[in-house]
Structures are given as structure tokens and as C-alpha cells.
Symmetry: C2
Subunit: 304 residues, 2 copies
Amino acid sequence: MTDATAVADYVRARRAEVDALLWDLLPGPPDCPLSLAEAMRYSLTAGGKRLRPVLCLASADAVHGDREAVLPAACAIELIHTYSLIHDDLPAMDDDSMRRGRPTLHVVAGEGMAILAGDGLLTEAFHVLAGVNGDPGRVLRAIQLIAAAAGPVGMVGGQVIDLASVAPNLQDRAASPLDADGLAAMHAKKTGALIRAAAAVGAVLGGGDEAQIAAIDTAGAEFGLAFQIVDDILDVEGDAAELGKSPGKDAAAGKPTYPAFYGIDQSRAMANACIARASEALADAGLGESWLLGIGRWIVERRN
Amino acid sequence: MTDATAVADYVRARRAEVDALLWDLLPGPPDCPLSLAEAMRYSLTAGGKRLRPVLCLASADAVHGDREAVLPAACAIELIHTYSLIHDDLPAMDDDSMRRGRPTLHVVAGEGMAILAGDGLLTEAFHVLAGVNGDPGRVLRAIQLIAAAAGPVGMVGGQVIDLASVAPNLQDRAASPLDADGLAAMHAKKTGALIRAAAAVGAVLGGGDEAQIAAIDTAGAEFGLAFQIVDDILDVEGDAAELGKSPGKDAAAGKPTYPAFYGIDQSRAMANACIARASEALADAGLGESWLLGIGRWIVERRN
């Protein structure tokens, strides 16, 4: 059930469901200005892997939930991920002009519109989440999980630490070069938290019991860490065509990375260890036969 | 009950409750980076009128709701208002260096931090909202109202229209100079929607019935329009000490304003007409004796 081809088929099918809904999920004219609607869709349809929503749907499947009811929440998480990319790419942040092989939004629409399109995607995500069909208590729990993962103690906080680690003139009195533990903590917030929340939310909205939710939360945290380790490896190994952004940019910017601390081979072993721990947690909760583990392996074995 | 002194006392008491909770509501170290926690609080404690949360609490009172239970939601709306000021002040937007008599956040903390502090406040607002004590269905309805008011069909959309009206090189194919109707529509989104939602959410979370919620929603829309008309008048009449920002800046920037279209006297008459319509709606729903009307008058008669 979880051989690589079957997983690839499963991922492709879920991604198609996500892509189909994402387009229709966002408001358009006359309620929403045309330029804003276009800006949001420009970044949203730039061809991401949809890792977070696919993971969310796989979690719902793992607890035998109603995947269709969870789909809008899965898409809302992708809206949040997309907003974070837009804002991270801004000149005042990472100053990236290319993303997923296309010019970044501020390059084509201006900085003001890029900031607003990000704000719009983030806000609309919570509009979508609050409208999810399901037990209202579980929907509120999902919103809390996602907001915590995306906010000051999660993704936004991680980006602040990341920014401070390369720009010590940023007014962060606590800023100092990241060591290996600091790197892991930063990534747990910046990238890991939302991936983990995507997994947990699928289990919450899918009707999982507390043991299932806890196991999937653990697996989601491991997947998030593995994702970032592999991202760092690909940044060193990749070429521009594969990665869709300038390779070696992080290393060149003096950003701390897993290969820089541990070397490529040990970094890869660390990513595999994440999947092994996730496998154990899932098996203990009777979820070993779900698609989740296969998705974890897909994260580690991906080439972009 | 609603004479000006009593209203001022009521507003002062509610504002104190809001200010007391706002400080504690935001996360701090070690979960949230210190610099981010400081940046968010810098803008949040810059001494705003707290119009939106006070209005929200007055609505809860009007329907005899549990004001204490509504307080976190009222504060969450202020978080969203504060985020919008931070982002609107950025160089890529209105490029304001002063706000409420102090340097704006990007001036003191840098653009990257200002963008992130705004993102953090917006996201944390939904974290707070999802944790509100109350009927889960009503809490979800409140989140939907607020997200719609703050998002692409509301405040963010209004800011896009506003930006396009003074920067026609922004890529808005629909952009053209605003006429009087366009001005009203822009403000209904940019400023009015969140004020209106603040009023409605107080009624929703306070346990109001549908007739009460509808009347308060109507009054909130009128208050939002009156607020903007008076803001435009103050911008023309005010001096820097009173307004805490550069007076006449909107007019100088060629931004459309109510006094520019209608003159000062007619603008003031229009603001009074808003309050009259709100009064009628509230009276029809048996809410004429609430504090809401007094707050409407306070909005129109304020001097800053």
C-alpha cells in the first residue's frame, strides 16, 4: 500500500483535489479588487508541491475521516504557506526575485501589492477555516493549532530568528549566531510548525481520538524537521532548474544549514532517523498502514 | 444615561479593560522572540482610542451579554487594527514616519520587523478569537465576520483601492480616479468593515438575537462611515499636536476625501446623518437605551 509508486499516485490525486479547490476558494471581483485577486492567484498557482494540504488530507484518511470535509482546511493551510513565501521574499526580508521558477510577486506587482496579497491570503485562510463543515469545537481547535503554528510563537517567530541570524543589525537584543540547537529550534518554528499543524489538523478535523492525534502530531513534527534537512541538502546539491530558485543562496548568505553543521551524509542520516521515529509513533497508535509514512518517505526522497 | 459625560466615563472604563488585557494577550519570550514581542507591543501600546474594542464591548452590553467573555475578542480586533496601521505605514504603502505622535515601527525596528510584527499581530488575533469562551457556533460566526471584514473583500481590498487611487502605476487594471461613490465604497472596505464587524461581533458573542445583531450591524456600518468622514474633516482642520500625524497629508497626497468632495459643512452634516440612521435602527430593535448611540455621537464629536 505504501510503495513509492502508490504513494506518488496518492499524492498526485490529493494535489489535484487541492489545486481544483484553491482556485475557487479565493474571492474575486466585484467583492475583491481585480488586481488583488490576480496577485493572490499568481503566487498561489505557481506550482508548489502542496505538501502541507496533502499531508493534512492523508491524516484525515489515516483516522478514517471525511476527506472532502477537511479539504477546505487543507487548502487554507496552503494559503498561509503561500502568504509566508510572498512576505519572506520581500526586499526587506530574504530579497528573492525568483520563486518556483517564476519572478516573485513583488517583482511583478510591486512591494505594496505583495505585502497586501500576503495579508489577504493569511486573512482569507481564517475565513475559510471558520467556515469548515464539522463539529464546531474541533474546527475551533484546528484554528487554534494553525494560528499558533503560523504566528509569533511559530512561523513568524522563526522568520524573525532567521532574519536576525543573517542581519545582526536588526534590533534583536537576543540575536547571536545560531548554533546547531538554535538552527533546529529556528526551523521548528519557521518551517516545522505549520507542517506539523497540517498533519495534526487533518487528524482533529477527521475525527481522530486523542491517541491518534498525538501520534500524528509527533509524526508531523518529524516530517517537518526532515523536510528542512532535505531542503538544506538540496540547496547545496541542487541546480537552479531543479530547485526553481538560486542554488547555494542560503550557504552564500552565511545562513546556518544542516550540511554546514553536519555534512551531507550525516544530514541525510538525520532525515532518515526522523522518518524512523515517525514510523514508530504511527505504528504505536495503529496507524502504520496509513499513507502518512509513505508521505514522510516522499519528503526525504524528493529531488526538489 | 447617554449624556456626553457618562459616555466618556463608559468609554474610559472599557478602554482601561482593553488596555489591561492587550498587554497580557500577546506571547513573549521564550516562546516568542523578544524583539518580535517588543515590536508588537510598541505599536499596540502607542495610545490608540480603542474605538473598535470599546464598540464591541458596548454591543455586548446592549444585548445584555457577558462583557468579560467578549473582552478577548474585542482585544483581538484591536490587534488586527494595529497590524493594519503598521503595514499601511510602510514605505511601500503610505510611507508614514509618524503615527499617534511616535515614530512608526519600521522607522524604529526596520521594515522587515515591521512586516513580521504586523503578520504576528494578525495571526495572533485569530489564535485569541479561536480561544474565546462561548458557544462554539457563535465563536466561529464571529471569526468569519472578522476575517471577511479584515480580508480581501474588506480592509485589505480597501487598502488596495486606496493605494491604486494615488499610485496609478500600481498594476490595477481597474484603477481610475475615485469619484464620491468610489470614495465611499473604498472607505466602507478599508475602515468601515472592521468597525462594523466589531459592533456585530459584540452582539453575536454577547448572545444577541438575529434582530438585535442586524440592528447593531446597521449601526456599526453607519458608525464606520461617520468615523471616516470625521477623520477626513480632522485631517483638514487638525494640527499635528492633536492628530499625532502630519495634518493635511491626505489632501497633499491628492487622496480623495469627503471635505474635498462635499466641503466641511456638508461633510459634518453627512456624519450627523449617519448617527441619525444608526439611532433609528437601534430604536427599532429596542436598543435605543444602550451606550451604542452615545458612542456614535462620541465618534462624530471627537477632536482627534
